[in-house]
Structures are given as C-alpha cells and as structure tokens.
C-alpha cells in the first residue's frame, strides 16, 4: 500500500471519474442501458470500446441507479449496438415524487442472480423491452466514441454537467503536478545518465590500467 500522500495524488484523478466527456445526468425515464459489441477492436469495434472505457464510468458515477450492461462476444462481424430503454410516460408517472428512486424498481422484481449482467461470452444479449418500455438504439459500428457520445446525449436528452470553479482549480493543480513531474523526471534522468556515463568511463580506465600492468610484467 502506498503512503496516503502519494495515493492522494492518484486520487486526484478521481476528478477524471467525475468530470470529462460523459459526465451527464440522465432523465428519470431511462431505466437501463445495454451495449453489445465485440471483444476485439477490428472491424469498427474500437469506437464502442472507447466509449465504454472513457465515457461510461462517468455516466455510471452520475447515474448509479441505472444498470449499464455490456455484453461482448468474439464475433467481430456482428453489430455494435447501444440500446437505451425508456420507461413509458405512464410508468414514469407512477413514481413522480422520487424520480431517481423509482429507477431501479423494474429490476428489483427478479432476483439479482437472474438479472442480465455484463459478460464477455455473449451470455446476455439485449433483452426485449418489458411492458411499458420503449427502446432506442444507436449503431456504433465504425463510429468514433465522440460521435457516439454526441448521438447518445441527443437521443437521451441528458443534461451535461460542468465542473464547479473549485473543481476546475483542482484540475488545474493536478495538471500542474503532472507538468512538474515531467520536469523532475527529466532532471533525475540526466543525473542518472551522467552518473552511469562516469561509471562507464572509470571502468574502462581501470581495465586499461590493468592491461598495461599485465603488459609491463
């Protein structure tokens, strides 16, 4: 375990988990997300992969109640789709007082073990919409992750979050720290390189001296 001071600098990157592309709050009528793409990136599966790696953690952070399932398979020829499940107006109106609290209700009916879960073996393909649900899909194949995000934000009507001034300040500090680290690293590298060069020089000199001593004998 690293000491807390050091670890704190790493935790500064938690800001990265909160703010950046994908930091948005979804409207309450979205019940779940499902992504379906290949394990490897060939044939246009890089975009979805990057969307998962860069944007999805932030979406999950801001919408912890929304299940986000990723089903990957080894079939690169297959489609890459993102399905967004909307609760219909009637179902959404059932719990207007606690819009966020009603979000996972649909999935609490079945026990957790039987619910679809993320998979790397194509075990949980996109389920058909339940009663009172509507599905919107996004074709992600051969798309850049930024394009996918833009499409996603537009289709869901999510509100994008901006970092507060305090957080901006913290982000700047983290950036400064990174720059400072680069400078320090270069200084240290030069020091070590010089030391090694000197050692090499000395070793060679010692060798030569030894050779001359042997020749003189």
């Amino acid at each position: 375990m690293v000491n807390p001071g050091k670890r704190m600098n790493i935790l500064k990157t938690l800001l990265n988990l909160r703010h950046g592309p994908g930091a948005a709050i979804l409207p309450p009528e979205i019940s779940r997300l499902h992504m379906d793409f290949a394990l490897r990136w060939n044939d246009g599966h890089m975009g979805p992969r990057k969307f998962w790696k860069t944007c999805l953690p932030r979406l999950k952070f801001w919408n912890p109640a929304v299940p986000m399932i990723i089903n990957r398979s080894s079939n690169n020829a297959g489609p890459a789709t993102l399905s967004i499940y909307f609760r219909q107006a009637a179902a959404a109106a059932a719990g207007p007082t606690t819009p966020a609290g009603s979000a996972p209700k649909v999935n609490f009916i079945t026990p957790l073990a039987q619910q679809p879960h993320s998979s790397t073996a194509n075990e949980c393909p996109a389920p058909p919409p339940e009663e009172g649900e509507r599905v919107v899909t996004i074709e992600m194949k051969h798309q850049h992750s930024d394009a996918i995000l833009q499409d996603f934000l537009q289709k869901t009507g999510a509100t994008v979050l901006q970092p507060s001034p305090d957080e901006l300040n913290e982000m700047r500090q983290a950036e400064d720290l990174k720059d400072r680290a680069a400078i320090d690293r270069s200084i240290m590298k030069k020091y070590i390189d010089d030391k090694r060069a000197e050692e090499r020089l000395l070793a060679r000199a010692r060798e030569e001296a030894e050779a001359i001593r042997l020749a003189n004998q």
Partner: protein
C-alpha cells in the same frame, strides 16, 4: 578511439598512484564528542530504534482523504462498469502498525455473506474411523489415509481439493509419507500453525466451508471482501466482521507484541483505493444506498 584510450590510460595511471593513505589520526579525548549518558537521550534512541524496527506507515490526516462506504462504492462501481461481475470483487487492505520481525496476524474468517463458495476439502484420517464417516457426510471431495497419499503423489498438479485437513491420529503417518515437498509450496500441508490439524473433522469442515484465510504481509492484510453486486449493507457487514476479527486477533497477541490498526482501504479488482472513515451514508443526498446494488 586510440587517442582517447591512451589519454584514459595515462589518467588511470595517475589516479592509481595516489597518495598513501593518511594514518589514522588520533583525536584528543577531550575533543571527541561526548556520548549522551542522560536517561532522556537513551529513551529517545530506543524509540528511534523501535521506529526503525517497524514497517513504515503514514496516518491519513482526514481532510478529504477519507470516504464513507457508499461514496467509495459509488466510485468503485463507476470504475468497474461493464466488467463481468464474476471477475470483480471488492477488496480490503488493512494497514497495521507492527514490528518487522514479530509474529504476524493470520487466521480464518467466515463472512456473513461469503464472497464465493468454491471450497473443496480433502481430509486425511484413519481408514474406516468415525472421522472418515464425518468427512463423507460433511461433503469432503477426498478422504482416507494411504489412498490419499497415493492420490497426492500421483497427480500432484491436479488435486481435486483446495483445502486439506488432517485428523490428529494420522499426523505421524502424514509426516512419514514425506509429502511436504508436494503440499508445502501449494500451502496445503496440514500443520498446527495453519490450524488445519484437528480432533474433530466435523466442526473443522463446517468452519472451513465459505471461510477465507488471511495473513499479514509487510504490515498489510489484504482480503477479498465482497462481490461487486453486493449491496452497501451486505458489504458493511462483511467489513465489520473482518475488522472485529482482526481486533480480536490483535488482543490475543497483546502479551507478545502490540499492534494497531492504522487505516482500512476499500478497493476493487481494477479500481482505485479509498480510505474508509467508518461512515456509511453517501455525502450526495440524491444517491440512495439502494441505488448501489443494481445489476452490473
């Protein structure tokens, strides 16, 4: 190249024929620094030595560095989004203040909510004894005495069990069989130290199913503590049980060595580590603890 090497050679010769080493200078006694004889200084030195004997640690200061359980879970679930839940666990790293050469904490624990249940137990006991009957009814995958030794020798790399216990009556036979070389590296060799030699096979097996072993390494105890799909309540109970068990272990060792818990860090398979502050509720009131238990 030749010119540089010549130059180097001359340089080397110069440096080799250096001045003779100066004789050991004798400093007059009254000029030498006096040894501190005061009690205070002695105590100080002892404390410094003690500190040197301990593993390094730093106490978290608590200004924004510590998290409540639900906050940590929220971050970790975000970091683990889209991973198959079977391959992701919450883990705990417990930093302990301890000396480097003292006895270490090591024990077994049964969580209220087991992380996973793939314990397969083998039992070494005299053939046809009561213990063998207990092993059979308790669901051991392999049992016996000579038959077990043969089995272990024959397919040492593909053993059907991942825990091995031994009845006290079979200990001498086990030691004679010379299986230490096979079982030792796998950590399966029954011994009193690992608490795997017993008189009552039945209770030991009951204890072992769903139990996790932990031990302190370089002042830290690490253990998987929950599935990523656990609810905050389940996880908090597991953490509580774990810390209580460690505290009991520490108080048991009190007469030999004194140890303290310094910090408890919650992490996950691919996530960052969060020092826990002992609180439970999330700081963001929009997030309900129930939200942190949805399908992953």
């Amino acid at each position: 190249m030749a010119s540089t090497s010549q130059f180097l050679a001359s340089l080397a010769r110069l440096s080799i024929s250096s001045a003779p080493r100066p004789a050991a200078s004798s400093i007059p006694r009254f000029l030498a620094p006096s040894r501190g004889k005061g009690k205070k200084e002695k105590l100080k030195r002892k404390r410094r030595q003690q500190r040197f004997k301990e593993y390094k640690y730093a106490v978290p200061t608590g200004n924004g560095e510590q998290f409540s359980l639900c906050d940590a879970m929220r971050y970790l679930r975000a970091a683990e989004v889209g991973r198959p839940p079977s391959s992701v666990t919450y883990e705990v790293a417990l930093k302990v203040r301890t000396i480097k050469n003292g006895p270490v904490i090591r024990n077994r624990i049964r969580f209220p909510y087991p992380v996973k249940n793939d314990t397969r137990i083998g039992v070494i006991c005299p053939e046809g004894s009561n213990a063998m009957h207990d092993a059979r009814t308790g669901g051991a995958v392999a049992f016996g005495e000579q038959s077990m030794f043969d089995l272990i020798k024959k397919n040492a790399n593909n053993l059907p069990f991942n825990r091995l216990i031994c009845h006290t009556d079979s200990v001498s036979a086990l030691n004679k069989a010379g299986l230490g070389r096979v079982l030792g590296p796998k950590g399966l060799m029954p011994s009193l130290k690992t608490n795997t030699i017993t008189k009552s096979v039945k209770t030991m097996m009951h204890e072992m199913v769903g139990a996790e072993t932990y031990r302190e390494k370089i002042g830290v105890i690490r253990i998987p503590i929950g599935n990523i799909q656990f609810s905050p309540k389940q996880l908090s109970e597991n953490v509580k049980t774990f810390i209580e068990s460690i505290k009991a272990d520490i108080s048991r060792m009190e007469d030999r060595v004194d140890k303290d818990i310094i910090e408890v860090v919650l992490t996950s398979t691919n996530g960052p580590g969060f020092t826990l502050n002992g609180g439970f509720l999330p700081t963001d009131e929009k997030v309900d603890p129930a939200h942190l238990a949805t399908a992953m």
